[in-house]
Symmetry: C2
Amino acid sequence: MIRNVTMQDIADRLGVSKVTVSKALTNKDGVGEELREKIKKLAMEMGYRYNSNAKSVKAGISYNIGVISPEKFSGPISFYMSFYQSISKVLEQKNYSAILHILTSKDEKELQLPRAYNECKVDGFIVLGQIENNYIEILRDIDIPIVFLDFYDQHEDIDSVITDNFYGAYTITNYLVKNGHRDIAYVGNIYATSSIQDRYLGYIKSLLEHRIPVRDDYIINDRNDSGVLIDAVLPEKMPTAFVCNCDQVAYKLIGRLKAEGYKIPDDCSVVGFDNDIYATLCEPNLTTIQVNVKEMTRLAVEIIIKKIKKNQKVYGRVPVRGEIIFRESVKPL
Amino acid sequence: MIRNVTMQDIADRLGVSKVTVSKALTNKDGVGEELREKIKKLAMEMGYRYNSNAKSVKAGISYNIGVISPEKFSGPISFYMSFYQSISKVLEQKNYSAILHILTSKDEKELQLPRAYNECKVDGFIVLGQIENNYIEILRDIDIPIVFLDFYDQHEDIDSVITDNFYGAYTITNYLVKNGHRDIAYVGNIYATSSIQDRYLGYIKSLLEHRIPVRDDYIINDRNDSGVLIDAVLPEKMPTAFVCNCDQVAYKLIGRLKAEGYKIPDDCSVVGFDNDIYATLCEPNLTTIQVNVKEMTRLAVEIIIKKIKKNQKVYGRVPVRGEIIFRESVKPL
DNA sequence: CTGAAAGCGCTTACAG
DNA sequence: CTGAAAGCGCTTACAG
C-alpha cells in the first residue's frame, strides 16, 4: 500500500506551508479564500484523506463513543440492536463513531473494563442495558463520561435516558377505561424488573384515578424469578381486558386465550408494550406502546457529547414518553 | 478532566527514559525483567492508559474495522445485527474494534464514502449485505481492504464470505426425499435475489439426483419483484412437501395451509431456511437450515486482517455450510 | 540492557 | 493573510 498523502505533500506542491493547508482544509480563519479553494481542489485531486488519529493525539479526543451492551441482551432479535443502530446514525451526524463492546458475562463478573477504555479509544460510554451493580461501581470510578440507556440505578449522579414506563402503562390503561373497560388485569411479575414494576404502577394509577378497585387476582404472574416465561393462571372471574407488560407476553396470552375458546377482542381485549415484532405477528394485531428509540438515542448522544465537552452538569434520569399504537386488539364495550 | 498519565510521566518517576517504558509496557525486548515489572506495576498504580491513537499515527493503522451495512437491512429484527455482534466479538479478540456504518440509501445513491474512510479511522471494511453495483465500484477503487459478508458479486477479485445456499437447500431437500417425499414444491421468486436462486438450484439438484421430475407448477412464487410478499398460488395437485426459501415464507405458508384446513405436518411437510425467529414462532416448529453466523464472521475477520497485513492473496467466494435443525414440520411418509 | 534523536501527521500559539 | 517552532504520545532505528 502506498503512503497516504499528507498535508505536507499538498503544501509542497503548492509552495505553501502545512499550517496554511491545515487551516484551509479544516475551514479555519487565516487563509485567503482563493488559496483555500486552490488547496481544497488539489487535496481532492491528490486523494487526500484527513488523518483523524493525528488530531486525536494532539486533542486527546478520539471522536469515538463506546457502546457497552451486556452479552445477555444480544442475539438476532435483540431489541437493543435497534438502539445501537440509531446511536450509530446519530453519532455519525456529530462526526463521532460508535464502537460496540459486547460485555461478556465473564468480563462483567471479573470487572474487566473494555479494551477501548484501556487504550483511550473512546471519549465516553453509553451503557445499553442493565449491568451488574459492581460493574456500575467501577464505571463510576472511571474518569470518562457515562450515560445509561434504557435503565437506571439508584445512584443519583449517573445520567440515564429511559422509557417512561409508568406513563406509558398509565395512558394505555386510561385508553381501556375510556373504552368502557373496568375489569382490567395486569400481566407481569412485578418483582422481576424495574420496567415491569413501573408499568404496573402506571396501571395502578389509572385504576385509582378512575376509582376502580384493585383486585389481587387481577395481577397475573407471567414469569418466574429467573425471567423464564410461565403459563399464566387466569382468574376465576375473567376480566374484560388485559394490560400485558410486553408484547411477547401479550402474544403468548392471546394464544392461550384463543386455545381456551375466547375470541379476541370480542370476549377479551389485550394490550401490550414495546411495539416489537410480536405486536404484528399477533392475530389480531396488538394495540401497544411504541418506545421512542430515536428520541432516546438522540438524548443519550446529546448528553454524552455535552459531558465530553466538559459540561459537567448532571442530567439524572431523563424519561422519554412513548406513544400508543392503535390496532385491533381492543374492543369498546 | 485531568491530563492523562503518559509514558513520560512513568519514566520521570522512575528516572528512566520513555523508550524503556514503552518497551516494558508493550512487551518488547530491550528491558531487564526486573525493571519491566517495576514499570508495569507503577503504570498500574498511576492509572496509566495506553494511547493507541499515538501508535496509530506512527504506524498508520487505526486498529478499527468499518462495517458497512445498508440502511434497508436495518431495523429491530435485522438478521444482520447478529452478524455485527459476532464481528464485534471476534475483532475484540484480535485487539481490533468494529465501527458500524449504516449506509443510508441517499449516500448509497450519491456514492458517498463513509466518513470513517475519509478520516482514516478504519483499516478496512466488511460490507454486510448487498449494496448497489455503483457503490461496489467505488469501494473497489479505494485503497483499503474490503470483504463482502453474506453476498457476492460478479467481480472475481473481491473476497466474500457467503452462506452455502445451494448446498443447504440441497441437503434439506435430500432429507425430505429420504423421508419418502417425492412431490416436493419450492416456494420463492427465483429471480428476486441470488440467495433464493441458489437455494432453488440446490433443490433442483436434489430432485435430479433422485430422478424426480421437476414440475413447473411446483415452483411457487412468494413475492413480487420489489420483494413484497404475496399470497402463494397453490398448485392443483398438492405436493406432500414444501421447500421454502426462508423461514418467514414458511411461516406464512403454514398459516395459509392451516386456514385451508391442512394439518401440518400430517397433510403437508414444510421446511424453511435461516432458523430465525419465525422458525420457532411457527406451529409446528420448523425444520430448517441454520446459517453459521459464527464461522462466517470468523472467516470474514480473518480474511480482512490478513489483507491488512499486506497479504494480498485473493480469497474469492468462500461458502460456509449451515446445518439442518430438525424440528416438527416434517412427517415421514 | 538503556536511551538520545528523529519522526508519525496534525494543531496551537505566536510572530511577521 | 502566511508560516516557523514547538508539541501531542508514542515508536523506530541506532548508538553506547
